[in-house]
Structure formats: structure tokens, C-alpha cells
Symmetry: C2
Subunit: 341 residues, 2 copies
């Protein structure tokens, strides 16, 4: 057969399966009307430089420092407003931040929530790692420990996962797993799932529940929302942006389909009850809903929440936005069902 | 102040709130990879004539007949494959179809599921009204009654709602509300919510649970996915298409923000536990997730499911597609929790 005929045949087969690539035309996005004014103000044009990542390890390290510094400033302001106290210590040899609210909810007094920070496996470290923990401590009135896991260029896959496991092992010495949850957003949600797979494989006790915000659960590019929400999401913006580049920097040449990098391909049976959060504009909406269905298929209790017009993980952007308060109250109430039954 | 200054001021205020309209550029949509081959084959280019609705009552009547005929053919084929028996009768003076599977699940033997068909308040009547009932009866192994409610041009708002209520009142004579659910898709899900609001106002017993597939719950155009999923959804396709025109034909000059037309604006407290289903490509994804959050805010148990790469209500397109089986099994299992506790 000629090459042309083969191409024609392939085209016909794709067409008969309705499986052609197609173009979605440009469209106007009005400011979302059914959201808070704070979220509306966060829905502006995506940054033009979303796909300009550093090209050297030194470049990444500089970006990492900048992210840690701006995140630390944000965390300090949030901690003050939410009356949350942050100290640092080590657990299992790993640097963590102990995050305690001025007011602990009586029914959540003996909980320990282990939080794994976001940032594409490369950013959001140092005190920036405490942002999501501060929001949960301040809004959920519970004790949270935030893990400042190692990241490239200091250490590559599976260093971050090793650190999460080391902290979890140490937490088991002082707290009952039935009074603990693990949670995180984006790469932090992926690391939470990866930690569950690893802990299960090592026959360690699992927490009573997990929280997964917009999990970056599939690095193979299968998610449909990578196309449908491209340039609509104004945080991750589009595939092949800085976040994918950062994740690949961590991956360090390993197979991205490894369940310890793309946990959607792992055996999710026997995982703890999970709550998942995403937004209709989230570039990882598909990743979130696919993990939800995979968990249900595997017999795991899993609950999905999708916020109107929210781009990737925007509930981490503000501690006063009604959507942020909704998310953390909803996750804390979900943990109530399993940690304080 | 000059008009020009007022416009400038308005522009500045909008800009300071980050609330500008913005353009999302054209993008390529690859065939979705993380779905069944059947759903992938349903993800082709939207019909170009999606926004060419009839302009006269006679035109709508002709389109209505065509929809009833093609739907009836589809329903017959599905009923045969799924071993479901369909007969017609009246309940409360309204034409209904009694839909019974060859095999009733033992725990679902005394249920009655009341189904309200889709079709933008104008289409999908006659035997076409049985499609979703047949899928539920065949996959969920339960007894379903499908309401062939009146539609324009024969009768306008609130005739459809009146008919749903008349059937519900009649069903209460033979079945316990604790063994009944009401469910539907799109306009059928909106009518289900509207029926709950009306039944609550009239102090009638409510069913033990409701099922809401992609509810057309807000006719005021607030949903963000009307913009973000425009021309990505290949069923409803975009706002101001045939479906909006059909709904407005039913509305017949009433206020579209009336909770009996846009039930998201109703008082949703005390509604039965609800399961909601949508897809990431659904033009009504926002409507679905907004109803979910409104129900939760109102203290109602509500559970959300979003299917990867699914356009509006595509689970009604095939009785063999894995996603269809997933949806009806999931909804039936949700009903188990409340109808057979």
C-alpha cells in the first residue's frame, strides 16, 4: 500500500469512529456572573508568559525562591487574619510546619491533618507550603501539619514522595490513623494519592480520609479539559506551560505513566474515603472527575465538588473569598464524617 | 457628567474588579482519549444548524412530530435490547407510559420511579418520552412511569408542570412516597425541581430522592459554561440555539427568573436527597454544579457526578455505552440508599 493510501485509510477509520480532531472557535467569556465578586476579580486574562519556564536548574531554583518568598508573604498575612499560629519542626527527618488555629473545634481536637503543598512538584516550598494548611486550620479549626518536602533541583522523583511517607510514618507514632486525614491540591493531591499507593504497598495504616483538590493525577496528557479549558483556565492556562515543565523537571526521565507519578493508573482499591474539588474552568477538571470515577469503580467512597467558573486551585488565592470558605468548610465537614464519626 | 465620562468610569470600575469580558482563542480538540469508543464516536463536530429553530408554531409542531418519531424508533430498539416492556395509560388525566423490565431487582420491587422527559420543554414527547425510563428500567431493573406532559403549541407554561404534579398526586394513591423517586434530564430535571417546589408549596408529600441530569435550571443566562463550553458541547452546542428558542416558546412571555421556570432561584430547602449528573463538555455543566451547591447550602443531601468529555445528556444517546450504564447504575444505587434503606 502507498503511504497516501494508508493515510487515507487511517483518516476513514477515524472518521467512521467520529474520532477526528476538531476546532473549537474563539469565543467571548463574559465575567462570570454566578460567583462572588472576589472570584470574578480573579477571572481576568491569563498571563501571556504561562509557557515560559526556566531552561536550567539554576533558573528553576531562582523561580523556586521567588515562589517561596511571595508564598511566605501571602501565608503570613493569611495566618494573621485567620488567627493561626505557625512553627517549624522536623518529622521523620523532614521539615514540616505545625499549623494550629487559635480556636480548635472541640470535635476535631484530637485530629492531625497532614497537608501536602501544591506547586507542580517544584514551586510552593518553604513557608509558602503553609498556605493551604493555614486555610484549613483557620476555617476548619483543626491542627494541620504542612510538609516542606524536597524538590528539584535539590532532589528528584521520588524524593518528594519519600518525604511525605517519612512524615506519615512519624505521625503514626503520635496519632491514630482513624483521627488523621491527608490532603493537598494539584501536585499535592497527586502526592497524597501516590502516598496512599505506597503506604498500601508497604502495609502501613492509611488515614481515615483524604482530600484531593484538582489532582494532577495524570501526566500523560489524556485529560480532555487540557484542550477544552485551555486559555479559559487563567492559572495553569494551557498544557505545555510552566507547570508541565516543572513536573517533568521532577519526573527526571522516569515513565510519566508510573502510578507514583500518574496515580490515576494505580490500583485505587482500599483507599480511604476521598473528597475531590475542582472548578468548571479548571485545566485539571478532567483529571479530577476521572479520579472520582476511578475511585468509585474501585469501591472507594468518593465525593465530588465542582465550583462555578473557578480556574485551577483558585481557592488558595484568598482567605476571604466565599468560595474558599465553602471549600474548606466542605472538606472539614467531610473529614468529620470519617474522623469523628 | 458627560456620557463619555460615565462610560470611562464604568470601564475603570469593571477593570479594577478584573471583570472585563475576554476572548478565549480557538483551540483544537483532539478526540477524547479517556472515554469509551462509543462516547468518542459521539464527540464529533457540532451540527451547523444548531441555532436554526422554527419561527412559527406550525414549524415547532412539525419539529416536535419529527422528534417524537425518531425518539420512538430509538425507544423501541432500546426496549427490545434491554428487555423492557412499555404500555400506555393515564394517571391523573395525563398520558403516561408504564415501563417495566423483564427482571425487577428484588430490593426495588415496590419502587415507582417517575420520569420526566428531556427536550427543551417542546421536544421528546410521545413514545420518545420513554427513552430515559427504558434506560433506567433496563439498567436499574426498576418500575418506571414516563410522563408525556403537554407541550407547546398545544399548551404553554405551566401546563407541563401541572401535568407532572397531576401524575405525582395520582402516584401517591398507590405508592408510598418513601418508595418513590422522581428523575429526569435537562428540561426534565428542571421540571423535577419545579415539581418539588410546587409540591412543597402545596404541602404534598415529596419523593424519597430525586435524580437531576444536567438540569436546565437557569434560563437567565448566568451559567459560565454557556460561554466556556460553547461549540465544545455538540448537543446543545451554544446559547441562543434551538433549545433556548424552544424553552422560550414554552415560557410564553412569563418571567424566565420565576423559580417555576428557573428553579435555581427557588427555596431548595427541604427538598429530597438529590443526585446530579453532568459532563465536562456539557453546556449546562455550570447549571448542574450551581444547583449542587445551592442544594448543599439549603441543607439538602446532594451528590455530584461529572463524566469525562461528555456533552449535554449524551448518556441518553446509547443503551450500550459504558458511560450510560455507569450513569444509570450510579443513580439507581443512590436511590437504593433512600428508597430501600
Amino acid at each position: 500500500m502507498t503511504k497516501r493510501f494508508v493515510l487515507l485509510l487511517a483518516g476513514c477509520l477515524a472518521a467512521s469512529a467520529g474520532a477526528q480532531e476538531r476546532e473549537a472557535p474563539a469565543r467571548l467569556l463574559p465575567p462570570p456572573a454566578g460567583v462572588s465578586s472576589e472570584l470574578r476579580s480573579l477571572s481576568s486574562t491569563p498571563p501571556a508568559n504561562y509557557n515560559q519556564g526556566p531552561e536550567t536548574a539554576e533558573g528553576w531554583a531562582a523561580r523556586q525562591r521567588a515562589s517561596a518568598e511571595s508564598g511566605a508573604r501571602k501565608a503570613h498575612a493569611m495566618a494573621e487574619r485567620l488567627h493561626v499560629h505557625v512553627t517549624s519542626k522536623t518529622m521523620g527527618g523532614v521539615l514540616v510546619f505545625d499549623v494550629t488555629p487559635a480556636l480548635l473545634a472541640p470535635t476535631r481536637r484530637d485530629w492531625l491533618l497532614v497537608q501536602v503543598h501544591a506547586g507542580c512538584y517544584v514551586l510552593g516550598g518553604g513557608e509558602a507550603a503553609t498556605v493551604e494548611a493555614i486555610l484549613m486550620a483557620g476555617i476548619g479549626h483543626a491542627h494541620v501539619v504542612a510538609i516542606d518536602y524536597r524538590m528539584p533541583p535539590a532532589a528528584y522523583f521520588p524524593a518528594a514522595l519519600d518525604d511525605v511517607l517519612a512524615v506519615w510514618k512519624d505521625a503514626l507514632k503520635t496519632h491514630k490513623p482513624s483521627r488523621m486525614a491527608m490532603f493537598g491540591t494539584s501536585a499535592g493531591a497527586a502526592l497524597t494519592l501516590e502516598a496512599m499507593l505506597r503506604a498500601k504497598a508497604e502495609a502501613m495504616p492509611l488515614p481515615a480520609a483524604i482530600g484531593l483538590g484538582s489532582p494532577m493525577a495524570d501526566l500523560t496528557g489524556v485529560d480532555d479539559s487540557l484542550a477544552t479549558n485551555a486559555m479559559i483556565d487563567n492559572v495553569l492556562v494551557a498544557p505545555h506551560g510552566f507547570c508541565d515543565a516543572a513536573a517533568l523537571f521532577y519526573v527526571h526521565g522516569h515513565d510519566v505513566a508510573d502510578p507514583l507519578l500518574s496515580p490515576i493508573y494505580g490500583d485505587l482499591s482500599q483507599l480511604p474515603p476521598a473528597i475531590l474539588v475542582s472548578g468548571t474552568r479548571d485545566l485539571l477538571l478532567s483529571s479530577t472527575v476521572r479520579v472520582h470515577r476511578k475511585l468509585l469503580e474501585a469501591g472507594v467512597s468518593a465525593e465530588l465538588h465542582v465550583l462555578e467558573a473557578m480556574s485551577h486551585a483558585q481557592y488558595l488565592r484568598s482567605d476571604t473569598m466565599p468560595e474558599t470558605i465553602d471549600v474548606f468548610r466542605t472538606v472539614a465537614a467531610f473529614f468529620d464524617r470519617y474522623l469523628s464519626p
